[in-house]
Amino acid sequence: MNVSLLAASTSPAERWVYAGMLAANLVLVSVLVGRLGSSLAKKYVMSLTGLALCGFLVIHLIGNAMMLFGAETYNAYADSLHKDEAALKVGEFALLFLFVAHIWLGLVTAGNNRAARGRRYDEEHVKRQDRTAGEFLAPDYWMLVSGLVIGAFLILHLWDFTIEGRPDIGYSDKTPFEKAKAILAVPWTKIAYVVGSVFLGWHLGHGVASSFQSLGIGNARRNRAIRWGGVAFAWLVALGFGIFPLISAYL
């Protein structure tokens, strides 16, 4: 048994480090957003941070997949992440930056967009013919809502796994593998993690393809591939992450 793993529960000092990281990122992003002159620049940052976060999701999913190979492999992977604590903190800082910037810009642009309409229509319907059925579920109309749900889920997730603040999980005597299993064994948590995954997939069902358009990468020929690629990725993420809470008892 690796001793470092047993001591992995976050100390109060480490929690202060995370609080500092968040504060620093809020300042950093507020400065950055103030410097983004145009609506297009905002969309570029929105897209780039979104796509970078998708890249992170892939790495995260690979990490999750280690659980399939048993406790040994997963614990070794978790331990390897903590090899270089300083590098890990830098990575976490960058990751937090991506989240903060993406969410901040999402809120800012959503506010602008509401204001740009002014008085709302009494009656409003889509004109896209591929949208007339099931229009109310189209992810692009719900990006703010799905984003906020994902944000709430993210807080829970970080509280569970990074801050290790759950009083109902005895962190100190568990390996990472046991921690993950213990957290996902709690029924409401299981549901919350599935819901979080589904909302994430829903969000990406629009977000991925939209990012390419905002960055000006799409064109008539490539757009079909980009759209379907985005939807496929969204499904992969929803299923990939959503499956673990459901099968965790059998791992």
């Binding site: 609506s39 309409r117 009494d122 757009n223």
Partner: protein, 256 residues
């Protein structure tokens, strides 16, 4: 099938820019299915005038889909239910006898209502002023073959140039964004050799103007494309995103 329709119209009435405005309901009878939507409104207005009421103000000019004046929200859709169709080209045969039709002006902070269904679209003019022009030498017309334009580019440029500036893209967009309009103008000129001297300045200034007119941001929902009577593609938006990025990376600053 009935050849005449009796309809109930719920129309936004607002006496001027600062008035509160409200929906009012009118009945029209015996509307021919061959009429255009505007002709149906003409019938209503005749009726209102005879009753000594104020007719409903709406913009129109060509009545053949080229001037872009006649936009209105018809049952919650810009220019009504048909694809690539302006309100003036919309036929009453698209409606059912006894139907209620809700008619609203374009709603956007950048397009204030002037009266009833008429909105002030001068924000579009100011976007054009910011960069929708080219520099040409005066004097004799140049020899036709001095500026060869590849066929593909000419086609794409003219597709973008088909924009009639009606504002349906803004009206239909859930964010009241003017991206499709601005992108059509930027694309049109960026694709042609005549548009090259101002290419970078143009996109930066037009986008800056678009932003300052307080249109919304683009969420890539593509309702604009579906509502556009001229069939402008959202590919133009992608092109503008590219053009703007390149121009800003090259250090071009807006200068309005």
């Amino acid at each position: 099938m009935a050849h005449t329709l009796n309809l109930t119209l719920r129309i936004w009435r607002q006496s001027d820019r600062d008035a509160r405005g409200e929906f009012r309901t009118y009945d029209v009878r015996g509307i021919s299915t061959h009429m255009s939507f505007l002709e149906m409104l003409d019938v209503l207005n005749e009726q209102l005038i005879q009753q000594g009421e104020e007719p409903v103000a709406f913009d129109h000019d060509c009545r053949e889909g080229i001037c872009g004046q006649c936009g209105m929200m018809i049952n919650g859709q810009a220019h009504g239910p048909d694809r690539e169709t302006t309100t003036c080209q919309l036929h009453m045969r698209r409606f059912e006898n006894g139907q209620t039709i809700t008619i609203e002006p374009w709603r956007a902070r950048a397009f204030p209502v002037i009266r009833d269904l008429v909105v002030d679209r001068s924000a579009f003019d100011r976007i054009i002023q910011a960069g929708g022009y080219i520099s040409v030498r005066t004097g004799q017309a140049p020899e036709a073959n001095t500026l060869p334009v590849p066929y593909e580019d000419a086609e794409k440029a003219l597709d973008a140039a088909a924009c009639i500036g009606c504002g349906a893209c803004v009206a239909q967009c859930k964010n009241a964004s003017a991206m499709l309009f601005t992108a059509a103008k930027v694309s049109h000129l960026a694709l042609l050799p005549q548009g090259q001297p101002e290419r970078r300045r143009r996109v930066v200034n037009m986008v800056a103007r678009m932003d300052s007119e307080q249109f919304g941001n683009c969420t890539n929902t593509y309702e604009c494309e579906a509502a556009c009577p001229a069939g402008i593609s959202v590919g133009t938006i992608s092109r503008m995103n590219r053009e703007y990025l390149k121009a800003r990376l090259a250090g071009v600053e807006p200068n309005l």
